[in-house]
Amino acid sequence: MVEPAIKNNNQIDKVVDEGIDTGIARLTPEKIEQVINKVLKTETGARLKTYVGTCVHCGLCSEACHYFLSYDNDPKFSPAGKVKQTIWELLKKKGKVDPEFIRRISRIATTECNLCRRCAMYCPFGIDIAYLMTIVRRICHMLGVTPRYQQDTAHSHSATLNQMWMKDDEWVDSLFWQEEEAQDEIPYLQIPIEKEGADIFYSVIAPEPKFRAQLIYQAAVILNVAGVDFTMPATPGWDNSDLCMFTGDYEIMGRLKKAHFETAMRLKVKRIVMGECGHAFRSVYDVGNRWLAWKMPPIPVTHAVEFYYELIKEGKIKIANKYEGVVTFQDPCNISRGRGLHEMARYVVDATCEEFVEMHPNREHNYCCCAGGGVINAGPPYKMKRIKGIRIKAEQLFAAKARGAKVVIAPCHNCHGGIDDIIHHYGLDMELYFLGDIIYKAMEKPA
C-alpha cells in the first residue's frame, strides 16, 4: 500500500555531479540533522506547518506538472510526490537522514522542479509547493550540496555581482562595442553610460553581454528610436540576474539585489526597465526585494514585455513591416503567473506579426519550458533529464506547428535555452526569437 518514498530506479539520476558528490562526501549524520533542524526551526513556521497539515494527499496537483506529464504520469514527479520524497520525510525523521537521502532530495528540488508555481493553480487549497521545494534547496545549500554548474554561477555572483564572471571593463567594453556596431545602422545612436537622472536604468542579465550581445544592440536601437531617456551603469549592479535565489543562497541574493537597487538609486533614475528575462524579473520584483524587507521593489521595475507594450501603444515605436509568417508565443512562468503580462505580450505580438497561433494551454496555465528555476543552470549532467521532462512542451509546439507556426517567440532567456533544446531534440525545426528580435525586424527605423 505505502510505496517507499525513495526508489533508486531512475537511470537518468545516475550521473556524476562533482558539486553534489563532493558535498555529500563531506556530510556526517550529525551535521545533516543539525542543519535541517536549524533551517526548519529558524526559517520556517506557519506556512510550512499549514501546507503539510492541510494537504489531503488527493493528487490533484499531479496534472499541473510538466515533469509528471512528460514522464508518463510517474507519481514520483507529481508535485505532491516530490513533497512526499523530501519535506514529509525530513519532518517525519526529524532531520535524522543519511547523506544519500540528501543527494536524492537535492536532485529532486533542483533538477525535477522548476518552481514554476503552476501546481498552486491546480491544488484546491493553493498549497505553495514551489515554496516547499525552495526550503529543500535552502537545506541543501546550507549543507553544501548544490549541482556544480549552479554553484559555479552562484560563485560568480558572489565574486563579481554578475552571473558570468564578467570583469567590470569587459562589461563597459561590451556596451561600447554594441554602441559602435549599432551606429553603423543609426548614426546618432548612443548607449548612455552612467547618466545621472535618466528616466530609465536599462538592466540586463550577464549572458547578454557575454554571448547574446545582439540583444543589447537591438535594445539600443529600440530605445534610441523611441527617444527614451535611458542609461546603463558602469559599475557592478548592472546585472539583474540571480541564480542564488534558486540555489538557496539568500545571503548572496540579498547582496545582488541591494547592489542592483542601489545602482538605480545612485543613478537617480525613475525606474528600472529590464530585458527579456523571467527569473531575473522574479528576483527583482518578487523575491529579492522581500529578502531586503521591501514589500514591493523600492523603485518601480518594468519587464521588457510591458515596456514594449508601452512603446507601441504610445506610438513611440511604429511598425513598418509586420513580421511575415505564422508565430506562436511562449508565456514565461515568471511574467505570466509571476506578473500577468500575457495580454500585453499578445498586444505586442499582434502589433508586430502577421499571424499568430496560440499554444494550448496558455497564459497563466502555460507549461514551463523546464529550463527555469535554475534547472538549466544545473548543467550538462541533467540535460537529458530536463529535455525528457518537457516532452509536453514539444507536443504543444508540434500542435502549433501543425497550425502553421514556424516561429516561437519566447521573451525570456531561460525559455530560450529550454525551447532551443526542445526544438533540436524533438526535431521541431522551428525558429526561436525574443520579442525584441521581432520588434527590431518590424519597426520603423530612421533611413
Partner: protein, 219 residues
Amino acid sequence: MHDIYDFVSGPLVWVSFIIFFGGILYRLISMALLAKKKDIIVYEYMSLKYGLRSILHWIIPFGTVKWQKNPIFTIVTFTFHICLIFIPIFLFAHIILWKESWDISWWYLSDNTADVLTLVVIASCVFFLIRRIVLPEVKYLTSISDYVILAIVAAPFITGFWTYHQFPGFRVMGIIHILAGEIMLAAIPFTRLSHMIFFPFTRGYMGSEFGAVRHAKDW
C-alpha cells in the same frame, strides 16, 4: 446499554463539541501567532479582495480550470462536501435531539431526502477510496492515515443509515453512530481534516499573492 447510551449522548457530546470548537480556536490562534512570529510575509501580503476572489472561484463548482478539467471529481467532491455539512445540521432526527435538549429547532430535510443524500455521501467515500487505490499518483501519496481519515468521515453516515433503517443490531449501531460523529468532530482540528479550517487561509494567501503582487489569476 442505557448507561453507555446516556454517556455517549450526554457528556461525550459536550466533550466532542468542546474539542471541536476549542480545537479550531486553538489551531487558528496558535497558527496566527506562529505566522506573526515566523511568517510575517503572510500578514503583509494577505489581501481581502484578492483572497476572496480566489476563494470564490474555488468554491464554485466548475469555477476553475482545474474543476473544469475533472468534471466527475468536481461533481463528487462538491456534492460530498455540501452533504457532509448539510445532512447533520438539517437531519430531522438530529433536530429532535436539539428540540428535546434545548427546545430549539429549525428547517429540516425530509427523511427520504436525507436518506438519499446519505447514500450519496457513502458513495462519494467509496469513490475516494477507489481513487486512492486505483490512481497511481494518489496511491503513491497514500498512507494508512489517509484510510483512517476517510473511515472517520464515512463512519457516521454508514452507521446513521444503518440505524435509521433499523438493520440488525441497530441499537448498538446507534451508539456507534453517535460515537463516530463525536470522533469526527474531535478529529477535524487535529488531523488533515483541518483543511476545513485552513482552506480559506491557504487559498486566500495564494489568491493574494497572485492577485495583488503578480496581477494574475490563480484558478
